[in-house]
C-alpha cells in the first residue's frame, strides 16, 4: 500500500467530526478571547490555528506509520515521558505558572506540557503490556505491573500539582485492561477501589467540618492525605453551590449561568454576556470554559451539535477498534478513545456543575498547544490502526 492508498482508507466519521470540532473551536476561541486585551502578540485563535496545522502534520505522520512500530518503542516513549515529567521540576527548564509546574521551556519559550505527551506514551505502553503477542492477560502480574507503571506518572503529575490530569490515567488503564480481557472480578475490584477512593476523599473533605473541626486543623489533615487547600475548596464548592460565590465558587456559578442562560438557540456569536462581560474567568475561558461560551452563544442547539460531533468522533474510534487487524490495534483505539472521552466528559460535566472544577481541557475545542498536538496524535494513531484494519 502506498501513501495515497493508505490515505484513501482514512476513517471518515473521525475526519468529519474532527474538522467540525476544530472549526467550532477556532470560532469560539475567537469569541472567548476577543475581550481579552492581547499584549501585541498573535491573537489566541491564530495561535490555535498554527497548533492545528502542526497537529495535522503529527496526525498524518502517525496515520502513515505502522502502529506496531510504536509498540516496539513503547518502553522508550514511556521512559522519555517520565524524564520530561521530571524536567518540570528542574530549575531553568521547568516553568511555574498559576502555582503549578506544568511546562517545560527551552530558550525561554514554553513549548511542552510533559503530562500531555505522557498520556499518549502511557496508552501505548498499556497496550504493549496487555496486547503483546503471547501474553496471558489473566495473570495478575500484568495487572500489578500496569498499576505500578500508572502510579509513577500519576504521582509525578500530582506533584505539579495537576490532580485532574493525573486522574485521567486510571480510567484509561482500566479501559485497556477491560478490553484486553482481564478477568471481570479484577476489573470490578478496580472500579470498587476507585469508588471507595472517591467516597473517602469526599468524606474527608466534607465530614470533619460538619463535626466542628477547625479549618486549620482540617487543612492539615487533608494535606496529610495529599489534598491541597484549593482542591479542598473546589470539592466543597462542588457539594455546596452557595459557597464562596465571589471566590472559589465563582467559576462554577458563572459557567453554569453561562450555559443555563443560553436557552434553545443561544445569545448569538460574540453576544454571550457571560463571556463578553468577563463573568466567565477571562484567563481560562478559552482553555477550560470554551464549551460554556459555545453553550451560551449557540444555546441548546449548539451544545447538542458539539455533543453529536463528539459522539461521531468516539463512534469512529470505536469502529476502528472493531475493524482493527489485531488485538494491539483494537486496544490502541479503545485506549485512546477512552482518553479523549474522559477529557470530554470531565470538561463538559465541570462546565455544567456535574463535577468539581478541574483544569481538564476539551479536545479540539479548547485552546492549548500541547494538548491539541496530543489529541491529533491520538487520532493519527487511530487512523493508522484503521488504515491497516481488517476491512475492505
Amino acid at each position: 500500500m502506498n501513501k495515497i492508498q493508505q490515505l484513501r482508507r482514512l476513517n471518515l466519521p473521525i475526519m468529519a467530526a474532527l474538522l467540525g470540532l476544530l472549526g467550532l473551536g477556532v470560532l469560539f476561541i475567537y469569541s472567548a478571547a476577543f475581550s481579552v486585551s492581547d499584549h501585541g502578540g498573535m491573537p489566541l485563535y491564530q495561535k490555535q490555528m498554527a497548533w492545528i496545522a502542526f497537529g495535522f502534520v503529527c496526525f498524518f505522520v502517525f496515520a502513515l506509520t505502522d502502529y506496531h512500530a510504536l509498540a516496539k518503542y513503547a518502553w522508550l516513549l514511556y521512559a522519555l515521558g517520565i524524564v520530561l515529567l521530571l524536567l518540570v521540576f528542574a530549575p531553568y527548564i521547568g516553568v511555574k505558572m498559576y502555582g503549578a509546574r506544568r511546562w517545560i521551556q527551552l530558550m525561554g519559550v514554553r513549548f511542552l506540557q510533559p503530562a500531555e505527551f505522557m498520556k499518549i506514551a502511557f496508552v501505548i505502553l498499556a497496550v504493549r503490556l496487555f496486547g503483546y503477542p503471547g501474553r496471558n492477560v489473566r495473570r495478575l502480574r500484568y495487572v500489578f505491573l500496569g498499576v505500578a507503571l500508572t502510579l509513577l506518572p500519576v504521582l509525578l503529575i500530582m506533584k505539579q500539582p495537576d490532580l485532574g490530569t493525573a486522574l485521567i490515567f486510571f480510567p484509561v488503564l482500566l479501559a485497556v485492561m477491560f478490553t484486553a480481557g482481564v478477568p471481570g472480578r479484577v476489573i470490578l475490584c478496580f472500579v470498587a477501589a476507585g469508588l471507595l477512593a472517591v467516597m473517602l476523599v469526599a468524606a474527608f473533605v466534607l465530614v470533619p467540618p460538619r463535626l466542628g473541626m477547625e479549618e486549620q486543623e482540617h487543612r492539615r489533615l487533608l494535606g496529610g492525605i495529599g489534598i491541597s487547600a484549593y482542591q479542598r475548596e473546589r470539592i466543597m464548592v462542588f457539594f455546596d453551590s452557595g459557597r464562596d460565590p465571589l471566590g472559589s465558587g465563582w467559576n462554577k456559578a458563572q459557567s453554569q449561568i453561562a450555559v443555563g442562560s443560553g436557552g434553545l438557540l443561544g445569545k448569538g456569536f460574540m453576544r454571550g454576556t457571560q463571556n463578553i462581560l468577563g463573568f466567565l474567568p477571562r484567563t481560562v475561558t478559552p482553555t477550560d470554559f470554551v464549551f460554556s461560551v459555545i453553550a451560551e452563544e449557540t444555546g441548546f442547539a449548539g451544545a447538542m451539535l458539539v455533543l453529536l460531533l463528539f459522539g461521531l468522533l468516539l463512534y469512529g474510534m470505536l469502529r476502528s477498534a472493531f475493524l482493527a487487524a489485531d488485538k494491539m490495534g483494537m486496544l490502541l483505539c479503545a485506549g485512546l478513545m477512552t482518553m479523549l472521552f474522559c477529557h470530554i466528559f470531565i470538561n463538559m460535566a465541570m462546565t455544567i456543575g456535574l463535577m468539581p472544577i478541574t483544569g481538564i481541557p476539551l479536545p479540539f475545542l479548547s485552546y492549548g498547544g500541547t494538548f491539541m498536538v496530543t489529541s491529533m496524535c491520538a487520532l493519527g494513531i487511530t487512523q493508522s490502526v484503521h488504515i491497516r484494519g481488517d476491512w475492505r
Partner: protein, 604 residues
C-alpha cells in the same frame, strides 16, 4: 510480528465500553437539556441580575406660566464635568482606579482653574456603590470653564461634559410664595426596588411646585446599563424615555403681582387680589419674600439658616397662613347677617356717643369718636363700633355665626396652595368647652366688630369681598387655570369651582355695597385715601388690635372691590403694624388699584 486475532469475548467487552461511552454522552445531553431548557429562566434571571443595572432617569419638570404666558418656572441646563471610570480602569483593583480618577481630577482642576469638588473618599465611595455610573466631578460649571474644557478635551478622553436640568425662576422673588421651590429627593419609596441606581428627582417643596408636583414631575424613564464582571459600565441601552412634566398656567398676572408685592414691600403684610367672577388669584403677595432660586440650587447651610431664623419669617405665606383678627372689615358680614334675618333695614339706626356700656365693661368707637345718630349705611362708612355692638346684640350671635360660616369663615377656602390656615370662627359650644364659660353679650359685641376670638386669613377676606362684589356667589380661589401635558400645543383649561351660592337678597346686599362705596367715595369715609379719580370703588377699612393691654399694636386692614358697578376685582390687604386701615393701607391699595386699571387699560 505475529498478529493476535481479536476474540469474541474482547469484542463483547468493546461493545460494553461503547455502551458506557454512549451513556456518558447521554448523561451529559440530559444534564444540558435540564440546565438550558428546564432551568433556563432561572439562569437567565441570575445572569440579568448580575450584569444588568437599571438606572432611573428623572423627567424634565413642567414649566409654570402666568396668565399671559410669562414664564415663572423654567429649566436650564446645569453643566458639569463627569469622569467615565470604565475608561480609566486598567486593572480590577479599585484602589488603582480611584487613584487614577483622583489624579485626573487634580489635573483637570489645574487646567480648568477650579477647586476639586470631589474628594478621594467620595471617589472611593462612588467606586464602591455606583461604579456603573459616571462620576460627577464638577457641578454647576460656567461657560468659561466649559470653553477651557472644550479646548483641552482631547487630552482627557475619560472626562466629558454632562448636563442636568436645574430649576430656574426667571422672575426671581416674584410670586415666590405661590410658586414655591424644589429640592432633589433621593428616593421614592415605592419605586426604588425597580432600579439599582436612582438619579434624584426634583420635588416641589412649597407652593404650586408642591401642590401640582405630580403633574409637573412627569414620568421618569429608565436605562439599562450592562456591567462587566468588575462592575464597570460595558454599554447601555435605553429602556424607556422619560416623559417631561405637564406645564402649568397660573391665574396670576405678573405685572399686577409685582405691583401687589411692591404695595407691601416696605412692611410685613399680605395682599390678595381675586377675579370676582371666577375666584382666580390675580395677585397674592406676602412680605417679606424670598428668592426661590437660592433655595433650589445648591444652597449653603448658612443661607438656609439665615432664611429660617429670620424673625420676619420670609418663608411664611401670610396671605394664606397668616391669622389675623379682621377688625372692622368683618362689619359688612354682620350687617348682612342682620339684614338677611330681618333684624335690621335701611331705616335702622342707633345712637353713638363714642362708647357703649355693657355689664360694667366699656366698648368704644375708634379713638372714642362720637358719631351721633347713625344708620346702617353710614355706620359702615364711618366704621361706627357702637352701632355694630348694638346691631350684633339685636341680631343675635347665632345669625352672625351661621352667616359667617356660610361665607366661608372658619374653614379653608380650598385654594391650591399648601399651608392654608382655616381661621377661627368662635361658636357658643366652643366657648363653653374651651373657656368653661357661657357665651355672653360682650363676646357678641367683640365679634360684631371683628375682634375677640375671631381669626381670618387675608385670603378669606378677599374671598368674602369677592362674594359681596359678585352678588353672593362663593368661588373657590385658585391659582392653576390650565394644564398642558407634554406634546400638546394648548393648555387644557381648568373650570372655576363655584362652592355655593349664598342667595343674598339683592336689596339688602345693595345697602351693604352702598355703605362700602361711601367708605371710599365720601370724603368722610374711613377709606377715602384709597379713592381713584376715574374708577368708583367700594371697600372697608379695619384696624384690629392685638397683643396685651398696654402694649397693643394694630393690624391694619382694608378690603376693596372694584369697579363698583360691574365688579371685576376684589382685594384684601393687611399690614402687620400700622396706624389704621384708612391711613396705613388705603394709600397702598390706591397705588395697587391704579396699577391694576392702568394695566387693564394697556391691554384693552
Amino acid at each position: 510480528m505475529t498478529l493476535i486475532q481479536i476474540t469474541d469475548r474482547e469484542k463483547t467487552r468493546l461493545i460494553v465500553l461503547a455502551l458506557i461511552v454512549l451513556s456518558g454522552l447521554g448523561l451529559l445531553g440530559l444534564a444540558i437539556w435540564f440546565i438550558q431548557l428546564g432551568q433556563g429562566h432561572f439562569y437567565r434571571a441570575s445572569q440579568e441580575q448580575q450584569s444588568v443595572r437599571r438606572v432611573r432617569l428623572p423627567a424634565i419638570r413642567g414649566k409654570i406660566f402666568d396668565r399671559n404666558g410669562v414664564c415663572m418656572a423654567d429649566n436650564h441646563p446645569d453643566y458639569g464635568i463627569a469622569i467615565y471610570l470604565e475608561e480609566l480602569r486598567r486593572s480590577d483593583k479599585r484602589k488603582q482606579t480611584s487613584q487614577k480618577a483622583w489624579a485626573l481630577i487634580r489635573q483637570l482642576a489645574l487646567v480648568l482653574d477650579l477647586e476639586p469638588q470631589t474628594s478621594l473618599k467620595q471617589i472611593n465611595a462612588h467606586l464602591y456603590s455606583r461604579k456603573a455610573l459616571p462620576l460627577l466631578a464638577w457641578r454647576h460649571i460656567g461657560p468659561g470653564t466649559m470653553a477651557r474644557f472644550a479646548e483641552n478635551q482631547m487630552e482627557f478622553p475619560a472626562a466629558d461634559i454632562t448636563f442636568d436640568a436645574r430649576r430656574v425662576y426667571p422672575q426671581g422673588a416674584a410670586a415666590s410664595h405661590l410658586i414655591g421651590y424644589v429640592d432633589s429627593v433621593k428616593t421614592a419609596e415605592d419605586e426604588t426596588e425597580q432600579y439599582h441606581y436612582y438619579l434624584p428627582d426634583l420635588e416641589g417643596k412649597r407652593g404650586v411646585e408642591k401642590i401640582y408636583n405630580k403633574q409637573l414631575a412627569g414620568t421618569a424613564g429608565g436605562r439599562l446599563v450592562r456591567i462587566d464582571a468588575s462592575g464597570y459600565k460595558h454599554d447601555e441601552e435605553s429602556l424607556l424615555s422619560p416623559v417631561p412634566g405637564t406645564d402649568l398656567r397660573l391665574s396670576i398676572d405678573l405685572r399686577i403681582q409685582k405691583a401687589a408685592e411692591n404695595a407691601v414691600a416696605d412692611t410685613s403684610g399680605a395682599v390678595v387680589l381675586l377675579d370676582v367672577l371666577s375666584g382666580d388669584v390675580i395677585a397674592m403677595a406676602s412680605s417679606p419674600a424670598y428668592d426661590p432660586n437660592v433655595l433650589s440650587s445648591a444652597m449653603s447651610t448658612a443661607t438656609w439658616q439665615a432664611i429660617i431664623s429670620d424673625e420676619r419669617k420670609p418663608l411664611f405665606n401670610r396671605a394664606v397662613s397668616g391669622l389675623y383678627p379682621p377688625g372692622s372689615t368683618f362689619k359688612p358680614l354682620v350687617a348682612l347677617a342682620a339684614l338677611i334675618q330681618g333684624k335690621a333695614g335701611a331705616d335702622t339706626f342707633f345712637f353713638c356717643d363714642g362708647c357703649y356700656e355693657l355689664g360694667g365693661r366699656t366698648f368704644s368707637c375708634y379713638h372714642g369718636e362720637a358719631h351721633g345718630r347713625v344708620d346702617l349705611v353710614s355706620a359702615l362708612e364711618l366704621s361706627c363700633n357702637v352701632f355694630f355692638f348694638q346691631l350684633g346684640l339685636q341680631c343675635g350671635y347665632d345669625a352672625i355665626y351661621h352667616s359667617a360660616m356660610a361665607a366661608g369663615f372658619g374653614e379653608k377656602t380650598g385654594i391650591d396652595l399648601d399651608g392654608e390656615a382655616s381661621g377661627f370662627l368662635p361658636s357658643k359650644a366652643w366657648k363653653r368647652q374651651a373657656r368653661g364659660a357661657p357665651w355672653c353679650d360682650g363676646d357678641t359685641c367683640n365679634v360684631s366688630v371683628g375682634q375677640g376670638d375671631l381669626l381670618v386669613t387675608p385670603l378669606q377676606m378677599a374671598v368674602f369681598t369677592a362674594t359681596i362684589a359678585n352678588g353672593g356667589r362663593l368661588f373657590r380661589p385658585r391659582l392653576a387655570t390650565g394644564l398642558r401635558p407634554y406634546g400638546q400645543k394648548d393648555f387644557e383649561p381648568i373650570p372655576p369651582v363655584l362652592e355655593r351660592d349664598l342667595h343674598w337678597p339683592a336689596a339688602q346686599l345693595a345697602l351693604v355695597r352702598e355703605g362700602m362705596r361711601r367708605v371710599i367715595g365720601e370724603p368722610s369715609g374711613t377709606g377715602h385715601l384709597a379713592a381713584l379719580p376715574d374708577v368708583v370703588m367700594a371697600g372697608k377699612t379695619g384696624t384690629a388690635e392685638f397683643g396685651r393691654k398696654g402694649s397693643r399694636q394694630n393690624h391694619s386692614w382694608m378690603i376693596i372691590f372694584a369697579p363698583y358697578e360691574n365688579p371685576k376685582y376684589a382685594v384684601a390687604m393687611v399690614v402687620d403694624e400700622g396706624v389704621s386701615g384708612g391711613i396705613s393701607v388705603a394709600p397702598r391699595l390706591r397705588r395697587l388699584m391704579e396699577e391694576v386699571f392702568s394695566a387693564e387699560g394697556a391691554e384693552g
